[in-house]
């Protein structure tokens, strides 16, 4: 199937692979377009028309789009519903190149990392949180990207998870990062608001090793050594709460 695709769609698939678990807003001229499953999701969630590309060739590609100058509110709507949106721009002047224009993802907008005022309530902070553990020690960190507020804590012993859980509830993060191994604990433990469906596991593009050792796509791009600790980060799930 892949060999029949146009260069542009091949480029699209490459970018999609680099950013799993997101809706890819693909810049095409004055529009951002969503393709394939993203288009179906986008059309449903944003109530915009679903069309198709290459209808004549028989392998129609579902597609829907929004104009670039009004995209911000559409993106905000999706993020508020718990989606992660990868924004892909044309990084060279389309009129100056005759072949496929270069494209790059310039930002991924996620529920826990909003800086667009449309996603922020002035009287409430928005936290991104991460949890990890080793042995009987549980650590947690909270970041409000809009202001730079950044705190971390950890607890050890039998009550460790209980105490950290109270903190998680207190900060009410809009997005929580945690390794797969903690998934059962987190799903059972976090009460209060219902959660949206957990987004797909983020795997490195080249990953072959078993899930617990696979790095996030973020890690795969830079050597693990840059992380302060020696222990590599295990796979992270992105769970969106509220």
């Amino acid at each position: 199937m892949m060999t029949n695709q146009t260069p542009m769609l091949r480029q699209y698939h490459e970018l999609k692979q680099q950013h799993p678990g997101t809706l890819l807003f693909f810049r095409l001229g004055d529009f951002y377009e969503l393709f394939f499953d993203d288009a179906i999701t986008g059309s449903r969630e944003l109530q915009i028309t679903l069309t198709a590309r290459h209808k004549e060739r028989g392998d129609a590609v579902p597609m829907c789009g929004v104009p670039h100058h009004s995209a911000a509110s559409y993106i905000a709507r999706l993020v508020r519903k718990g989606y992660r949106v990868a924004i892909c721009e044309q990084t060279e002047d389309a009129s100056k190149t005759r072949k496929l224009v270069r494209r790059e993802v310039v930002r991924v907008v996620t529920p826990g990392t909003p800086i667009d005022p449309q996603l922020l309530d002035s009287r409430e902070p928005v936290y991104l949180a991460a949890v990890c553990s080793s042995g009987d020690t549980v650590g947690a960190a909270f970041l409000d990207l809009s202001t730079g507020e950044f705190r971390a804590t950890q607890e050890s012993g039998a009550d460790a998870w209980e105490k950290i859980r109270a903190d998680l509830e207190s900060y009410s993060p809009r997005e929580l990062l945690f390794p797969t191994s903690l998934a059962p604990l987190i799903n059972a433990g976090l009460s209060a608001k219902p959660q949206t469906t957990p987004l797909p596991l983020v795997k490195a593009p080249t990953a072959e090793p078993p899930p617990d050792d696979a790095d996030t796509e973020a890690c795969s791009r830079r050597p693990i050594l840059q992380v302060f600790l020696q222990a590599p980060l295990s796979t992270l799930n992105f769970l969106v709460s509220r």
């Binding site: 902070p125 990890c132 730079g148 971390a152 950890q154």
Partner: protein, 550 residues
């Protein structure tokens, strides 16, 4: 990675050196933030390590049931504790107040410091009013700095930063009359960053647009290149008139006009009749029914200059603006310090203003175990209910009065007494005055709540299961410094079972030396009043209807 980001050699300064899991979690957050934003997020200048035990722990059940930040009646109703005490004038202050409420202090020194500051602002209306009116001129510096770091700040944002920093000297002066040490410290840490102010005054015009592309952002006199370009553009009209006059004279055609459209740019237009009399060097561009349009090399030259100038103006303004942003960003830490100072002052002023408006009193905090509230009131019901509120007094300690069994008719106010007791303790520990005639309070480590019958059906658990699970957590982890509110336990099941469970829970909490928290137990089971006779630490309170209180 954290070391790289903060440019530090060790994490010792952040108090986090041997806290591996905390560091790991922090690293994950930071990496994710940077990856998704494709930016260094340099406004994240600090990592604060905290222990869960550093504050009064309020879990979700408690926060929800006491309606601290969200009402049980639904998000829109706004009848929350936060809404009663929030008199802040800045968003930063509002957010800080909210975090004080959700994570109150647990150390006596901190609480006393805030109370002293609130006291100063409470006693002087002039100081308080002046401070609050100055703070009204302050914008959300915290988020503005964030926007600068991401390159999404607008010209108006710059002005907002300038206006905010300008308030520092005046704020300092207002606070100078207040003895409280916390206020003095805040006054000292507020930094007006004069270099940034000077730069912004010089560079940004008085009334800048919302978007940099709209022009008129950079003040005249800041860049000579920009000034020159602007004068060309501004003088365009003047130059047209002059050129027009010149051409009219030259050609002798009186109705010659110089016009502009998006297709041809600038052109000379004469009526059909005059077309033959135009000078030789006129080049025909377009023929219309009644007119002919021409251009000349001179006109083309001049056009290039003008249009080029306008394009270049926009480009140059953007370059200059970005440079200004960069310079402001270099002072991020100092501006953040000022932002924090303003936020704290705003939150303290809010508490003082509330205390005055709602007739709150200053609580006395002590390191013993007694809770003594005289004529306490429920702050939200008092404000939002139409009926006059009946105050109630409560006394608890860890010996003779550690379990209060509260009985009485339904809707008689049992739950209210429970809730207001907890709310008063929480208010005190966040540094606020409290709704009572008098209050002497200990420093609690946690407030536990089991209130009402709730069905957690979304997660497939019945009321009974929910109650039991939550109650079990309390029995397992409470301490003598905790406060436990039990409201109608055992309601979700058959009467006799419910009664037995209620009795067992109360007894356990009373008897266990490790977990014997101060407990308020509201129940419709009149049988439980027997507990007061059997258990040395239990007391009966009875809520009676209208008029008389116990």
């Amino acid at each position: 990675m954290l070391l790289n980001h903060f440019g530090a050699r060790s994490l010792e300064g952040y108090g986090i050196e041997r806290k591996d899991e905390a560091v790991r979690a922090a690293g994950v957050c930071l990496r994710y933030a940077q990856e998704t934003q494709r930016a260094a997020a340099s406004h994240i200048t600090d990592l604060a390590y905290f222990e869960p035990a550093d504050h009064l722990v309020l879990d979700n059940v408690t926060v929800r049931n006491l309606e601290l930040v969200e009402s049980l009646a639904g998000a829109a109703s706004g009848r929350t504790l936060l809404s009663v005490i929030d008199e802040t004038t800045t968003s930063m202050g509002a957010r800080l107040l909210r975090s004080w409420l959700l994570r109150p202090c647990v150390k006596q020194g901190e609480v006393e410091a805030r109370l002293a500051a609130v006291q100063d602002l409470y006693s002087s209306q002039i100081t308080r009013d002046k401070l609050r009116s100055l703070l009204k001129e302050v914008s959300d510096l915290e988020r503005l700095i964030g926007r600068i770091s991401f390159g999404s700040a607008s010209p108006r944002d710059m002005n907002a930063i300038l206006r905010s920093l300008y308030q520092v000297p005046a704020v300092r002066e207002v606070i100078s009359t207040c003895p409280a040490s916390l206020l003095q410290i805040l006054s000292e840490t507020a930094d007006e960053v004069p270099e940034v102010c000077a730069l912004l005054v010089k560079a940004i015009s008085d009334d800048p647009p919302a978007k940099i592309s709209e022009g008129d952002t950079i003040r005249a006199g800041y860049s000579s290149e920009l000034d020159e370009l602007r004068s060309i553009s501004r003088n365009a009209k003047q130059i047209i008139a002059t050129l027009e006059a010149t051409e009219r004279t030259r050609s002798g055609i009186n109705n010659l006009r110089i016009k502009f459209n998006n297709v041809f740019g600038y052109f000379i237009e004469v009526s059909k009749g005059n077309a033959a009399r135009v000078p030789a060097e006129y080049e025909r561009r377009q023929t219309l029914t009644n007119a002919e349009r021409f251009t000349t090399p001179e006109l083309r030259d001049w056009e290039k200059k003008v249009l080029g100038a306008e394009e270049r103006i926009i480009q140059l303004e953007a370059e200059l603006f970005n440079d200004v942003c960069r310079q402001v960003a270099a002072a991020t830490k100092r501006i953040q310090a000022t932002a924090r100072a303003f936020a704290n002052l705003d939150a303290l002023a809010s508490l003082a203003e509330t205390a005055v408006r709602r007739r709150f009193v200053k609580p006395v905090m002590h390191d013993g175990d007694e809770v003594e509230i005289v004529q306490g009131r429920h702050p939200m019901i008092e404000v939002f209910s139409e009926d006059p509120f009946v105050p109630n007094s409560v006394y608890l300690n860890n010996s003779t009065d550690r379990l209060l069994v509260i009985t009485g008719p339904n809707m008689g106010g049992k739950s209210t007494v429970l809730r207001q007791t907890a709310i008063i303790c929480i208010l005190a520990q966040m540094g606020s005055f409290v709704p009572a005639e008098k209050a002497r309070l200990p420093l609690l480590d946690r407030v536990w709540t089991r209130v009402g019958a709730s069905d957690d059906l979304t997660r497939g658990r019945s009321t009974f299961m929910v109650e039991m699970t939550e109650t079990a957590a309390i029995l397992h982890s409470s301490t003598p410094r905790s406060l436990v509110l039990l409201d109608e336990i055992g309601r979700g099941t058959a009467t006799f079972d419910g009664l037995s469970i209620a009795w067992a829970v109360a007894e356990y909490l009373h008897d266990s030396p490790e977990h014997a928290a101060k407990t308020l137990f509201a129940t419709h089971y009149h049988e439980l009043t027997e507990l007061a006779e059997r258990l040395p630490g239990a007391q009966n309170y009875q809520i009676t209807a209208a008029g008389s209180n116990v």
